[in-house]
Amino acid sequence: MNTIYTIIIVIVVMVILGGLLALVFSRRNHSKKLQKQFGAEYDLAVENMGGDKKAREELESRKKHVETLNIRQLTASEHDRYTLEWAAIQSKFVDEPGEAIKEADRLVMEVMQVRNYPLSDFDQRAADISVKYPALVSNYRAARAVANKNQEHTASTEELRSAMINYRSLYNELLVTKEV
């Protein structure tokens, strides 16, 4: 009789242990997946939210949110139009770097809205963009930081130039129109 009890207890313990392990592994898996998807943005979230768990929750909620948004690609004519608009501000930089930066920021926002990202403040925009463009969101944040500096007239032309390039990196990706 004792043997049977022992066996039953061992099995139960193993099942429990197994369950716990599975839980731990799935969490780690989940973390890894999110880390892979979000890259540096994951680390930023950990820092900002104060911990792995909260970071994971934040990023998951971002993903869910963006899924509900019905983001679309640009049409061919929108693509052409926005290509030309960027070329214009890129030229404008030579005459008015500060203005060019402002317009770059505005153009990125505009294209996002045309694609159905909702109108919102910068942090929300960055959060939204991080889901589909995680590799570029840090460029976006860096560019925005320089644009803010520019508002206080403390940005050098070289910083503004880098910011243009950062904005452009995201902008070009936003414009990508694939054959479906």
């Binding site: 290509t83 030229s91 030579v94």
Partner: protein, 186 residues
């Protein structure tokens, strides 16, 4: 996408080198509606600003007879009444300036496209952009020099070739020189 036609740059320098009287005749066979109005003014030749220039230059509206009375319809092909040799050659060559302006317009379009590319490229490579701008400016400069030199030599050919040049031809050539002079001075 925007820069495709940069590939079709006209080699203007070559074109200019090869301009001769026949080309001008070909390109502009009948610059005037009624033929080559030799007797009267070559109306298209007179720059509008002329009368107000320097006192040293003859005021065409005073010295030339009957200017106001000459209409386009008065200009007829007077080749027969003028037995001077090479007259038609001379009058056709008055379009040198026009021809070169024509080339200028097309080429300046291409030059502007080149400039726009340079300006647009600044944010990627600021130093290169400046270097290219310098090259472009040099190119423009040498192009202008070449055009004016060519125009000058074409003008010279109009009277300096040793054949008998009538006074009438010389009169017309001097008008061409005046046009050229005005363009330079302006």
């Amino acid at each position: 996408m925007i820069n495709d036609n940069i590939e079709e740059k006209i080699n203007l320098e070559e074109k200019i080198e090869n301009i001769d009287a026949e080309d001008i005749q070909e390109m502009n066979p009948d610059p005037f509606n009624n033929g080559v109005g030799i007797d009267g003014y070559l109306l298209s030749e007179l720059p509008p600003e002329l009368p107000t220039v320097d006192a040293g230059i003859a005021d065409p509206q005073k010295d030339e007879v009957g200017f106001d009375d000459i209409q386009d319809s008065d200009l007829v092909t007077n080749m027969d009444t003028n037995s001077d040799v090479g007259t038609s050659e001379v009058s056709n060559q008055n379009t040198t300036g026009q021809l070169i302006s024509l080339l200028e317009t097309r080429e300046s379009e291409l030059l502007r496209i080149r400039w726009n590319d340079i300006q647009r490229g600044f944010i990627d490579e600021p130093r290169s952009a400046v270097k290219e701008a310098d090259e472009l400016v040099s190119d423009v400069f040498s192009l202008i020099t070449q055009m004016f030199t060519k125009e000058h030599s074409l003008l010279e050919d109009q009277w300096n070739q040793g054949n008998d040049v009538s006074t009438e031809d010389l009169r017309i050539v001097l008008q061409h020189y005046r046009s050229f002079f005005n363009r330079l001075v302006d």
